[in-house]
């Protein structure tokens, strides 16, 4: 009788880790079928990063109809590019992504609805959206107590902006990395964020004004004091400025 030597689980994990690094999902899927001991490691790597679109979100609901048996707890990096509607929201709210570290919402209509529960484990939030209000951003931030990286880009809808601002939602608990790009790199947003700089070590600002440096940006950077380790500041000319100056 031939005895197959038992391979230590650490070795298996190491091998599977290499497959995941090479993004060899096909091989990982095959490995998941080898034995019960291989399956959890494979699933953990296969579902580490999930990018939901309106197409594959339906597929997820089809394949994993029972939320408790879904691999949602394996997901660390979660991205949504979906247009939320009521039935989708109801179906999806049953899944709890308890171990998510990085959370991203992108797309023109991808604004997370207020009723969507965000995973409190997330330490990184990226919002790259069209026409979002600061109220919605503030509501999202309030659900994430462990945030240490925040990236805001897209266009900001001035309608619905209220006080307290987004800085209040982060005050006293946010430190790490802050990115303000495109429509979010504006005076009022940076003024709101003046409440939070203690602990920020990396600030990136891409602003549409190359002719001057806004006072709010200066104050935000200087308020970080000795904690700031890296600063990236990029300024571009406004398109309307270009057009008006050229047409003279």
């Amino acid at each position: 009788m031939v005895i197959i030597p038992r391979i230590p689980q650490e070795i298996i994990d190491e091998i599977l880790g290499h497959l995941a690094t090479d993004s060899d999902h096909q091989s990982l899927q095959s490995c998941a079928l080898v034995s019960k001991s291989w399956a959890p490691s494979c699933r953990r790597r296969l579902f580490h990063t999930i990018h939901f679109t309106w197409v594959n979100m339906d597929r997820w609901l089809e394949v994993f109809p029972v939320p408790e048996e879904s691999p949602a707890n394996h997901v660390k990096d979660l991205c949504f590019t979906v247009r939320w509607h009521k039935s989708l929201l109801e179906a999806f709210s049953k899944y709890t992504f308890t171990n998510v570290e990085s959370l991203t919402f992108t797309g023109r209509w991808g604004i997370p609805p207020p009723s969507l529960r965000l995973p409190p484990s997330a330490t990184s939030l990226t919002l790259s959206l069209g026409s979002v209000t600061l109220v919605r951003v503030r509501d999202a931030l309030a659900q994430l107590p462990n945030l240490d990286s925040l990236s805001l880009s897209g266009s900001l809808n001035p309608v619905g902006n209220t006080l307290p601002g987004i800085g209040a939602a982060l005050k006293g608990r946010f430190g790490g990395r802050l990115q303000l790009l495109k429509g979010f790199a504006r005076e009022d947003v940076m003024n709101m964020l003046l409440e939070i700089p203690t602990g920020l070590h990396f600030i990136e600002i891409r602003i549409h004004d190359a002719r001057q440096c806004p006072l709010s940006a200066v104050r935000l950077v200087e308020a970080c004091g000795t904690t700031l380790v890296k600063l990236s500041y990029t300024a571009t000319s406004r398109s309307e400025y270009r057009l008006s100056s050229w047409s003279r």
Binding site: C213, S232, A235, T236, S237
Partner: protein, 180 residues
Amino acid sequence: MIQAGEIPTLTRSPAVGGSESPQRSFNFSKIQNLRELEVGASWIGGSLLWIRMALSTIKPATSPRLSTIKLTFARAPSPPRFSDPPIEGTGGDLQRVADEVARIEREFGTAVNLTVSRDRLFKEVLDTLNVRFLFRRADNLLIRSYPCLVDPSTLTAGLRPPEPYVAQEKSNKAMPGKQN
């Protein structure tokens, strides 16, 4: 010391003389643990005084941990229905930025990895303004692409001297038979 409600780092532009428009910029002497700094500008006109002012606050005594400075200059892309506009008011600013870059390089020596780069669209502006020193640290590829921008005396031993780029271009334009 800055009091509540007071505006920090608000100074007036010495370059604009009698102009009343206030200029402000970052004061890096207040950020003593800064290690990495990236500043970029993509613009088509107007003053870049704020960059020069920001650079002037970088000193070895107040930024002892600074190890990387990356400056990027680009010309904002032009919409197709407009012809390229003249860049106005940038010459003096660029020269002063170049002076600050030289000072930083001199004062920090090898402690700081200093990189200054610019995109292709910016070439014409530099040709006009003859600001060569600013970009002498550009990488080999850029130097070979636009050797006319580089003062040969600033080239290091490892770099090939520039080829006669301008002369070739002129001789192509002056080809016989084309003018008829």
